[in-house]
């Protein structure tokens, strides 16, 4: 099967209703989505449109009220908690708005973290850390603690952490929101390059116009529904 034909993320009738002081607040109202391997997708929408909830449910961090999610063909609701943890560890890379590196771990240790959970051999871990640090242009920073890095540098390390375990997909929530536009653009170029060269699948939740401009596929979510789904050539 062609890589492009591989259905990495599929959702069917995703509904999520939150309870707030007895009032039911619908966040998602029946979302059907199909994201294939190698896509560079931006899920766009105003605040409160449901895009973060959508990513939470896709990644198995949250459960839908109704509907189903398949990740690489596996039904998420059929997985146990431990299986879900392992699936995220092995197949999903996360990039967060606030970088969220572990502050007591050095750069190289943060990047190694997931590989340690995966029990990757020490030699291979070190080789992969060196390689990814080169790719994100952070050589020479491996022994620094996150507190001694700028926001852009921390986000580069976060990207390296997300990619080093060679996941099937990377889910990024507002990855450029805390960065200045120059740093944001540089990082976006880097992610685009990784997407093109490695065929890695990226799914962004964003309202950053820069990401929207660089994305090949744009899914606009409004009031918990897919408003439009456009793929650019």
């Amino acid at each position: 099967m062609n890589t492009q034909d591989r259905h990495l993320i599929q959702t069917e009738g995703l509904t999520k209703i939150y309870e707030d002081n007895g009032v039911q607040v619908p966040a998602l109202r029946g979302i059907d989505l199909d994201i294939r391997a190698g896509e560079f997708t931006a899920i766009v929408g105003p605040s409160g449109s449901g895009k973060t909830t959508l990513l939470n449910i896709i990644s198995g961090l949250d459960k839908p009220t109704e509907g189903k999610v398949w990740l690489d063909g596996k039904l998420v609701s059929a997985m146990s908690g431990a299986e879900l943890s392992d699936f995220r560890r092995d197949h999903i890379g996360f990039i967060f708005q606030a970088y969220n590196l572990i502050p007591v771990l050095k750069v190289e240790e943060n990047i190694e973290y997931i590989m340690l959970l995966q029990k990757v051999a020490k030699g291979e871990r070190h080789a992969r850390v060196e390689e990814i640090l080169r790719e994100v242009d952070m050589e020479g920073f491996s022994h620094r603690f996150p507190s001694r890095l700028s926001g852009g540098q921390q986000q580069r390390v976060a990207i390296a952490r997300a990619m080093v375990s060679r996941p099937l997909m990377i889910l990024a929530d507002e990855p450029t929101a805390n960065l200045d536009s120059k740093t944001g653009a540089d990082l976006l170029d880097m992610m685009r390059k990784l997407n093109e060269e490695r065929g890695m699948t990226f799914v962004f939740s964003t309202h950053d116009r820069m990401i929207v401009e660089k994305a090949r596929r744009i899914v606009i979510v409004r009031d918990g529904l897919v408003d439009s789904d456009t793929t650019r050539n």
């Binding site: 973060t52 990513l55 939470n56 990644s59 961090l61 949250d62 908690g81 431990a82 943890s85 392992d86 995220r88 560890r89 092995d90 999903i92 996360f94 967060f96 708005q97 606030a98 969220n100 572990i102 502050p103 007591v104 771990l105 240790e109 973290y113 997931i114 340690l116 959970l117 952490r161 889910l171 929530d173 939740s205």
Partner: protein, 408 residues
């Protein structure tokens, strides 16, 4: 160092002030426990020594039923055989024989009931401290059979002094006939124990046996052990071996049940204080760990999101509790050792205080034991790990999205 151990060790130093405050609280609790245990051992030893070394001895052998009836006619059976057995017994340090009889002592001024004790002065010196606490006169110097040694309180009651004459009246064993004799006060002692200073009168054994019509028989053998711990071991075969025939042998735990209760109470006391201290410490640990968890909710959320299993989070928090315990143990053991070692040199002065019928007659010296530095630190470590399970379970159970609000 494993990933979680490294994380735990570094995490406890993220808020150094909080870690040091909690660690110091745990350390003080541990040090207090070590000191208290050492003090209780010292106090128990002191009280036991006060009770047994003054007069009673660590153990006694009587004719069966004597202790219940105080009947002078109930004497130690087969005295020669028992004495020979005690001489050959490797556990025994010293022993002495006594007659014991209720009687009246009369002076020109007053009359008072006493327990007349017939002793062999030379062997008695090894068992009791009458000779050590003499404040006037001498302890059976010469061989005058009419010498009597009495306590300071009795001398006061009888209004007699050294060289004064007193009359002793006892009823003879078996016949019950009264027997009287005139004695001269040759020594006055002062134990600072009311019962001993006011209620005993010592005369030579032969004289007492003659007055009581006992022949060569005695009512009591008092003994001490080379290892004092044997005296409180009620299951030691010595007691059964020496309780054959018409005799019964008992240690101080049976002779002074109140003292035994106090001794047992000191053990329970350490346990109760330990439980209270640990409960206080537990709240401190739980508070510290929860504060730390709440500050790092986001981080735990990220860890869980990137694939850390709940078990990993639980392990991390428990290891943080363990790391905190280790720090505290190092500090607590040092503090406990320093304070206890210092006080075990200087002693604590409770002289003259009467407790459970025993007057403390010397300084109390806390006793350091290796056990205190193994058992209690191990308890602190185990307890801290156990207490850590609660916040650990909380951290592991929390919802990932809840922990990471406003992100993924």
């Amino acid at each position: 160092m494993s990933l979680y151990t490294k994380l735990a060790w570094r995490n406890i130093f993220r808020n150094k002030r909080r870690t040091y405050i909690t660690g110091t609280a745990i350390a003080i609790g541990l040090a207090a426990l070590i000191f208290l245990d050492a003090l209780y051992i010292g106090m128990a030893n002191n009280m036991i020594a006060s009770a047994t070394a003054s007069f009673t001895g660590e153990g006694q052998i009587h004719g069966r039923g004597f202790l219940q009836t105080q009947d002078a006619n109930k004497t130690v059976a087969d005295l020669d055989g028992v004495a020979a057995g005690l001489k050959a017994e490797p556990l025994i340090k010293d022993f002495t024989v006594r007659t014991l009889s209720q009687g009246m002592v009369t002076s020109t001024a007053n009359v008072n009931p006493v327990l007349l004790v017939g002793i062999e002065p030379e062997t008695e010196k090894n068992l009791s401290q009458v000779d050590d606490v003499l404040v006037q006169g001498s302890y059976f110097a010469g061989d005058d059979p009419q010498n009597i040694v009495i306590g300071s309180r009795l001398a006061e009651l009888l209004e007699v002094g050294l060289g004064d004459r007193v009359v002793l009246t006892v009823s003879q064993a078996g016949s019950g006939s009264l027997s009287q004799d005139l004695f001269r006060v040759s020594g006055i002692y002062h134990f600072n124990i009311q019962d001993l200073d006011g209620g005993l009168a010592f005369v030579r054994l032969k004289k007492a046996q003659a007055m009581l019509g006992l022949g060569n028989r005695v009512n009591e053998i008092a003994l001490s052990f080379k290892d004092p711990r044997i005296s409180r071991d009620e299951n030691n075969p010595f007691w059964a071996k020496s309780s054959t025939g018409d005799n019964e042998a008992q240690g101080w735990t049976k002779l002074f049940p109140a003292l035994k209760s106090i001794y047992d109470l000191t053990q329970v006391g350490t346990l109760i204080v330990g439980i209270i201290l640990f409960a206080v410490v537990a709240l401190g640990i739980i508070n510290t760990l929860f504060m730390s968890i709440y500050e790092r909710m986001f981080e735990f959320g990220v860890m869980r999101a990137v694939g850390t299993r709940p078990w990993g989070v639980r392990k991390l928090v428990v290891l943080e509790a363990g790391a905190l315990a280790l720090l505290s143990i190092v500090l607590g053991v040092g503090l406990g050792l320093a304070v206890t070692a210092l006080v075990s040199r200087t002693g604590i002065n409770y002289k003259g205080v009467e407790f459970a019928g025993v007057t403390i007659r010397s300084l109390i010296y806390p006793v350091l034991q290796v056990r205190q530095f193994i058992l209690y630190p191990a308890c602190v470590l185990l307890f801290t790990l156990l207490v850590g399970l609660y916040p650990a379970a909380y951290a592991a159970r929390m919802s990932v999205t809840g922990a990471m609000k406003r992100t993924l």
